[in-house]
């Protein structure tokens, strides 16, 4: 018996597809798919989550037993913040049963946020930079507006729905390299939603501020402070469109501009007298 090996023709075990072409088709397809999926799920998740009764949100937070703030060490600051929240709330259309609780945290973080259960957390880093009560009231009104709009629970609902879908799509999201592309595309689509929430909260807060003090002086101070703390140089101006697209919040400049526009449209006063912070404020801040 004779055996022989003939040379096989090339290309039997490989597909003749140009990798770059295939790559572009699939990458564009994947991004489009993810964007559409996340848009639908963010809307649907937020829509459903906003329909969860606030009382249920409160009950869930109770059972979770999450320690927010440091009320025991800082009773005066916590009491003052809650009193201010009460005054601001009177000028916001909070329905019955919707309430906020303000917590104070002595960490040096330049931020404040609203979370589920109507809980607001203010950091020392933010409070120590407040020049007057009007600015603080603007922040307070902004955060209460988030609770009023049910934004924390809506963001959670939309986020959970789209994260689960992305996990399913990538199988092991985040571990594969292509999974990162899918996740980044999903995340960037998601932040487009939080930005619209921020704008709505700014608008509601501004009108509450006007109702509380009779003018809106101090409303844009916060964003000027934010802007200064980021030390944005003019050389970055070219990438503003990109930064606008990538961030969870609108740009400080855009927010200041929107406030100015609102003041003009509504014919509000922007030059009223600023209310100083209470006498003990600096002392309360100094407590460790």
């Amino acid at each position: 018996m004779r055996y022989e090996n003939r040379l096989p023709p090339e290309g039997i075990n490989t597909s003749q597809v140009h990798p770059l072409r295939q790559f572009l088709q699939l990458a564009i397809g994947a991004v489009l798919l993810v964007v559409m999926l996340v848009i639908v799920l963010q809307y649907a998740g937020a829509f459903v989550a906003r329909r969860i009764p606030f009382s249920y949100e409160l009950r869930v937070m109770d059972t979770l037993d999450i320690e927010l703030g440091e009320a025991e060490q800082h009773p005066e600051m916590t009491a003052y913040l809650n009193a201010l929240a009460g005054r601001v709330s009177q000028h916001l259309p909070l329905p019955d049963g919707l309430s906020v609780t303000v917590h104070y945290d002595s960490e040096d973080v330049f931020n404040a946020f609203a979370t589920v259960g109507g809980n607001l957390l203010f950091y020392r880093g933010l409070l120590s930079r407040m020049p007057d009560e009007n600015t603080l009231a603007m922040v307070m009104a902004h955060e209460i507006s988030h609770v009023l709009h049910r934004d924390p629970v809506a963001a959670l609902g939309g986020g959970v729905a789209s994260t689960i879908a992305l996990l399913g799509l990538t199988g092991n999201a985040g571990t594969g390299i292509a999974g990162q592309l899918v996740n980044q595309a999903g995340m960037l689509t998601g932040v487009q939603f939080t930005r619209s929430m921020e704008i709505a909260a700014d608008d509601a807060a501004l009108s509450a501020l006007n109702a509380l003090y009779g003018h809106v002086n101090g409303a844009s101070t916060l964003f000027e402070l934010f802007s200064a703390s980021r030390e944005r140089s003019s050389s970055l101006a070219k990438t503003q469109w990109l930064e606008r697209f990538l961030s969870t919040h609108p740009l400080d400049e855009d927010r200041i501009q929107r406030i100015s526009q609102q003041v003009l449209d509504q014919q509000w006063r922007a030059d009223g007298e600023l209310t100083p912070l209470p006498a003990g404020f600096q002392r309360w801040l100094a407590v460790d």
């Binding site: 018996m1 055996y3 040379l7 770059l20 790559f23 397809g29 798919l33 799509l169 594969g176 292509a178």
Partner: protein
């Protein structure tokens, strides 16, 4: 923001590097494979389990193994294909090269032993890296049929 741009930039850079170097390496490897296949064509490799009985043979196990790594571009593309399904084309050529290289290495060993045939050839494939960019081992093994009476240990140039 800058870190995000840096991340995106490094992914693009890795993709471009992976594509260029991966493609270059693949083309070069295929050229060598085709050349060596024609050089070693005289030694038949047979899948049959029943060796010829025309004359006495000494039998010996011969193996050829190769570890081949994917590149960033192939891994990325394969990940995208995983979403939509279909043939994982970037790995087809990678495994094709690995199998043929393994056979060539096995043949080299058989030729060094002075074999007339390699019978009962089999393949084994193992995934050996679990990082973001995978690697595979392909092992080819078979029974070298070395005619008795022939000097053993003749070195064949390949």
């Amino acid at each position: 923001m800058n870190s995000l741009l840096f991340q995106a930039g490094s992914v693009v850079a890795l993709l471009v590097l992976g594509f260029l170097f991966g493609r270059l390496a693949e083309k070069r490897h295929y050229r060598k494979i085709i050349q060596r296949e024609s050089e070693t064509q005289a030694l038949p490799v047979v899948a049959s389990r029943y060796p010829p009985e025309d004359r006495p043979y000494r039998q010996q196990l011969v193996t050829g193994s190769v570890v081949i790594a994917s590149d960033y571009f192939k891994a990325f593309l394969a990940g995208l294909i995983n979403i939509f399904g279909g043939r994982v084309t970037p790995y087809e050529s990678m495994l094709d090269r690995a199998r043929r290289e393994a056979v060539l290495r096995m043949k080299a060993e058989a030729l060094a032993l002075g074999a007339a045939y390699v019978f009962n050839i089999k393949f084994d494939t193992t995934r050996i890296a679990t990082g973001k960019v995978g690697a595979m081992e392909v092992l080819a093994y078979g029974t070298a049929m070395i005619p008795l009476g022939q000097a053993v240990g003749i070195q064949h140039e390949i």
